[in-house]
Amino acid sequence: MALRWCTSLPVLLLSYVVCSLAVEIQSFENTNILRTVELGGSQVQITTTFAIKALQPNAKTYTLALDVDEQEKTSWLEVRLKGQQEGLEMAPREDDTGRYVLLDVTLPKALAVNGTANLIVDSIQTGATFPWPEKAAQAADQALKYRSDLFVISPYKTVTQKTKLRSPSPGVISHTTPKNVESFTLGDPVTKSGATITYGPYQNIPASANSKFLDEHQQRVIIHYSYEHPVLEVTKLKRAAEISHWGSNLNIQDEVVLRNAGPTLKGQFSRIDYQHSSYYKKSVSHVIPAVTLHLPAGIRDAYYYDQIGNVSTSRLRTTPSVPKGSQANQYSFLELRPRYPIMGGWNYSFTLGWDAPLADSTSYDSKSGKYIVEVPVMTTIPGAVVKEAEVKIVLPEGATDISYVEPFPSTSWMFTYKTYLDTSGRPTLLFEYQDLTIKHAQSIYVSYKVPFSAHLQKPFAVSAAIFISFMFTLVGRRIDLTLHKQKVQ
């Protein structure tokens, strides 16, 4: 199980302030580094391939370096060997210069001298792009800027390295031409072909994860490209999953604050221009008229409302439940249309919820008598990054022996929560996350036991209450409180 990268890690990192600043012995050499950046809206995917060669025997720990700035932006990072799915274990440690962070990757088996391996580092950056110009008129196109470092830094020497930035459309408006790189390359420092900008290849780069190199050679490159999809951002996502054994139901409710993080609207919104442009099918790229969501199969009673009531403009196409274990990827589609088109800089908050058969996401282990329920952390809104997320899982009343497995670390609490006709309250788990990307759309697994008596708690409480009120009436009607007895006539 790979330890995945999260920006909440600095807390962890601090505890790691490492005293083991050993002498930098060059145990590895990078024969080739290829970085590919898929430019996007709110999420930017980066794949970096390190071709490494061991210089010392029994080299097992390879160290990656990450600029602090970059580390802040990176909300997902995974290291694996080429051709393998499993991620490798990582241990972060902070460099005392405070300018970069080091990651110790443990290789599955030690390399002999001159032994080679290909490491692939997958990462997703959020908040790495910003709209430029910052304001755009209603009909104008949208362009973004992406800022990155020219060199991939590494504590080891690098023979050759290259950075490719791929824009989703051919419309690259401008890019930075790096200066003072003659010592590394003889040809053009940067080439552009279509939608791809290539920096390098640069040869014979010394160990770069040190202040000297950073001061002398590291520089910023900025790509300005047009982007034809809306830049979405979920400022806050509050998910509540409520498990009901009586109703055999898993209710999931999301409270979402959606924001168009593209260029803010310049001037004012004009309905007539908007209607004209949609009439002539000249849809504007940075406006969000609707969002399509993939909800689980087999859901029912979906609801979509905001603070002032039901939003009647959405459409839901449900798919029946998929039998367990089948690989078919089936979804219910929700076409969600906000009350108004979300222009640049506008907000829209809504609540979306649905009921799903509990059997679809729960299984019962008869050996240990435990239920295991799977709750997805989030429903992906295509292209959107979730800045803050809160997942609340409400277990049935009287659940015991609760344990959980989460796909990536978070801050979590446990408390009891009283709702529908509860007497003792339901155990509730709460998880908090930041900067969730498409890679984070995984599930939390919670296992718990529910004794038979807990199932009977609610009907018993209700019938007891009704019984007491009947008894009260029964007695009350038979007590005579009259002061003066009327004479019987």
Partner: protein
């Protein structure tokens, strides 16, 4: 005794009584169910949403109460209403409705039933309508019997006149007030019948609840004294009346003064003086009775004359004097308009501008009450038959409420209960007569003669008819039958007047019975159909959400209001001040959560007139007004695209009139008409009209929607000018999908100190007219 159908003879009276009581309970439950269900059209067709305008304020206040507690609500000062004045909500609201919802909310939540406060508010009115049905049952039971009670409960449960104010989502004071009205009246009748101080106190408690819930409490405040006065004048003064009235008045008045909004009004305003006067009169009479029992009648007569004259003169002088001194407030305008329907139009346009303050049209009586309106007079006549104290109450109530219902549409609501009660009495009498299985003894001539002759003198016109059956009584039943129903009125009067010969008057055979009963049933069935139809088609629209039907009958929801309000809520600064006509004030506060200049609590006429003036003036005049009031956004409702007739252009003349009331020199209504006196929006509209802010904001870029074709305003069916108005001081900020809501942002002062007109023409590259000075700066300074 002969019966029309064979009856089982081996049933014990206890079984009959128990079965009847069980049936009554079941019937009441079914009636409650029907009353609640028929009010849910709005939820089924649309959604669980608060309706219209005032309910949005009540809902907002309830949310404050539910989330912050009662004391916070009591001291709530709302700085966002009536900007920049603010509003002391706790002291200017009838808190009964919110408190009721708050209590229900807290009870449910203490039982761990997490019901949303919105759903409680939406479903409060249907829930209370079930209670109203029960209260009406209790009330009518006192008038006649249980079966009349059940009929009355069924009527009030589904009658459109009451449903119109109590559908789900219509979260207004009336929702609970009608229940309180009926229950207070029931307690009063009960107190009067028994002479019970307990029931008098209960009546006072419910009267207090009513005072806390609805401004219409004044109806009870005057109704009960009027009843007492009529009883006194009829010589029906009893100690029971004395006990009932005194306990009700003393406790009720003291309790009602605890409501901050009412305060000292019960002892200081003219509306409440009748109750005080009758209270005093009762004391005097009780004292006189006491004296009479101690002195001789001769002395007493003299004493009586002198004291009555002296007290009358003194009392009258005191009343006039106190009114003159200002200790007693004179009648309010709203009260005057109850007597003179033209009064409000002349002096208080703001009252007249509300559609529900208009006099009632005749068709709406039928629409709201259907066949009950025909049975109603019959029921009142039936009340004369026994004329007990409580019947006098119904008669007085009927007369007073009929008058008020004719004066103001909204007072139809107070008429409806008495119509239901009286009709139920009439219909139940009819059914009693014809369902009664006993057959009269085979007629002996003298007995039938008595009955018909008893009828003849009271009904002159029917004299000839009445003699016909008399001569034909010796023939068989069949001959008698057609004569009986020939004149319903004659029959009715004979029933009223003759009490003798019970056994000899009656109905023969089953066919007669069936004819009448089926007829009555038919009427009832049609009534149900009518009520359902009226409720679903006329009274169940939330008016926040509109619906249109496609050619195939599919419903299309038009949600422009919420669209625009939600846009305001999400995408403007929290403190952005929104100016709109007062109708939308509560909605903006409730849904958009933004400060408003004026709202539906129309307490400050000048402030409303200011908004009216801004809307009715040209941009140059309006701009300083807008800036002085910190207005950021101006919101107008425009129905021209969709044909939504309740828009601001149609309300515009009221804005002009109200503004004219305060600034008669600057705003004149005739300027907004064409020279031929028409109200138009097309080319022929007057220049003042075309220059007005309202016109400009409504039709800004409207003609472009038609792409050069003739731009037709679908509400007024007029073609607006091809070159639409231009705006210099405001800019369009948002327009909803169907153009119903249009929001404009007020520009800040030009940074270069130019007025916006000059600045605009500069940016458009036009040359500045040399002769034009910049008058704006002066106006801002002033």
């Amino acid at each position: 005794m002969p019966t029309a159908i064979p009856l089982p003879s081996n049933v014990s009276p206890a079984t009959v009584a128990n079965t009847a009581s069980l049936l009554r309970i079941v019937a009441l439950l079914l009636i409650s169910g029907a009353a609640i269900a028929s009010r849910l059209f709005a939820v089924v067709n649309f959604e669980s949403v608060i309706h219209e305008f005032d309910p949005w304020f009540n809902y907002r206040a309830t949310r404050v109460l539910a989330s912050k507690g009662f004391y916070e609500f009591w001291n709530w000062f709302d700085p966002t209403a009536w900007y920049p004045l603010g509003r002391v909500v706790g002291g200017t609201v009838y808190p009964g409705l919110m408190a009721t919802s708050g209590v229900i909310y807290n009870i449910l939540h203490s039982l761990n039933l997490p019901v949303d406060i919105r759903n409680i508010c939406v479903l409060l009115a249907p829930g209370f309508s079930a209670l109203t049905a029960w209260a009406t049952y209790m009330f009518t039971k006192e008038m006649k019997d249980e079966s009349a009670g059940l009929l009355a409960a069924a009527f009030i449960g589904i009658v459109p006149g009451y449903i119109s104010r109590s559908v789900a989502g219509s979260y207004d004071n009336e929702a609970i007030a009608i229940f309180l009205l009926m229950f207070t009246f029931f307690c009063w009748i009960k107190a009067l019948k028994l002479g019970s101080a307990l029931f008098g106190t209960v009546a006072a408690v419910f009267y207090f609840y009513m005072v806390a819930a609805w401004g219409g409490y004044a109806f009870i405040t005057n109704m009960i004294p009027l009843h007492a006065l009529v009883l006194i004048l009829m010589g029906r003064f009893t100690s029971r009346l004395y006990v009932a009235y005194s306990s009700w008045y003393a406790i009720g008045t003291l309790a009602s003064m605890q409501v901050p909004f009412v305060g000292f009004q019960p002892v200081r305003t003219s509306e409440h003086m009748a109750a005080l006067g009758v209270f005093g009169l009762l004391q005097i009479i009780a004292f006189a009775e006491l004296v009479r029992s101690h002195v001789s009648s001769q002395q007493f007569k003299r004493l009586l004359y002198i004291s009555v004259a002296a007290i009358g003169v003194l009392g009258g002088l005191a009343f006039v004097g106190m009114t003159y001194k200002g200790w007693i407030a004179p009648w309010t305008g709203r009260f005057y308009s109850l007597w003179d329907t033209g009064y409000a139009k002349k002096y208080i346009p703001i009252i007249a501008s509300v559609s529900e303050h208009q006099p009632t049209a005749w068709p709406s009586f039928f629409m709201d009450l259907q066949f009950l309106i025909f049975l109603f007079p019959a029921g009142v006549v039936f009340c004369f038959r026994q004329l007990r104290d409580e019947h006098i109450f119904v008669i007085v109530y009927a007369v007073v409420a009929s008058y008020f219902a004719g004066v103001m549409v909204r007072l139809m609501l107070t008429l409806t209960p008495v119509v239901c009660v009286a009709s139920a009495v009439a219909l139940s009498s009819l059914l009693d007569t014809y369902i009664d299985v006993r057959e009269p003894e085979v007629a002996e001539e003298p007995a039938t003669d008595n009955s018909t002759q008893g009828a003849a003198p009271t009904n002159g016109t029917n004299g000839s008819q009445a003699t016909t059956p008399a001569s034909a009584t010796t023939t068989t039943k069949k001959a008698k039958k057609p004569a009986q129903p020939t004149s319903a009125l004659g029959d009715l009067v004979s029933l009223v007047t003759s009490k003798t010969g019970k056994e000899t008057v009656g109905v023969f055979g089953i066919d007669t019975r069936l004819t009448v009963i089926l007829n009555a049933l038919g009427m009832l069935v049609f009534f149900v159909f009518h009520c359902t139809w009226v409720t679903s088609s006329a009274y169940s629209s939330p008016s926040v959400v509109l619906a249109s039907h496609g050619a195939d009958g599919s419903m299309h929801i038009i949600d422009d209001f919420r669209e625009a309000y939600y846009w305001l809520r999400q995408n403007t600064p929290q403190d952005a001040v929104v100016m709109s006509w007062w109708d939308y004030g509560y909605q903006i506060a409730g849904m958009a959560d933004r400060p408003t200049l004026v709202d539906n609590n129309t307490w400050n006429n000048t402030h409303i007139a200011t908004v009216g003036k801004a809307m009715a003036s040209s941009e140059e005049v309006a701009y300083p007004i807008l800036r002085k009031h910190d207005v950021d956004y101006v919101l107008v409702i425009f129905g021209g695209v969709l044909g939504y007739s309740g828009d601001d252009i149609n309300k515009f003349l009221w804005m002009v009139r109200i503004a004219q009331g305060v600034w008669p020199d600057e705003i004149q209504e005739p300027n907004y008409f064409t020279p031929s006196g028409e109200y138009r929006v097309d080319e022929r509209a007057s220049q003042t009209m075309k220059d007005s802010l309202m016109y400009k904001m409504s039709y800004y870029r409207f003609a472009e929607l038609y792409g050069g074709g003739p731009a037709t305003d679908r509400v007024r069916n007029q073609q607006v000018p091809k070159v639409g108005p231009t705006l210099d001081y405001l800019e369009e900020a948002y327009t909803s999908e169907n153009w119903i809501v249009r929001i404009y942002q007020v520009k800040k002062e030009d940074p270069l100190g130019r007025d916006h007109k000059t600045a605009n023409s500069f940016t458009h590259g036009k040359k500045r007219k040399r002769s034009k000075p910049a008058p704006r700066r002066k106006a801002i300074a002033g």
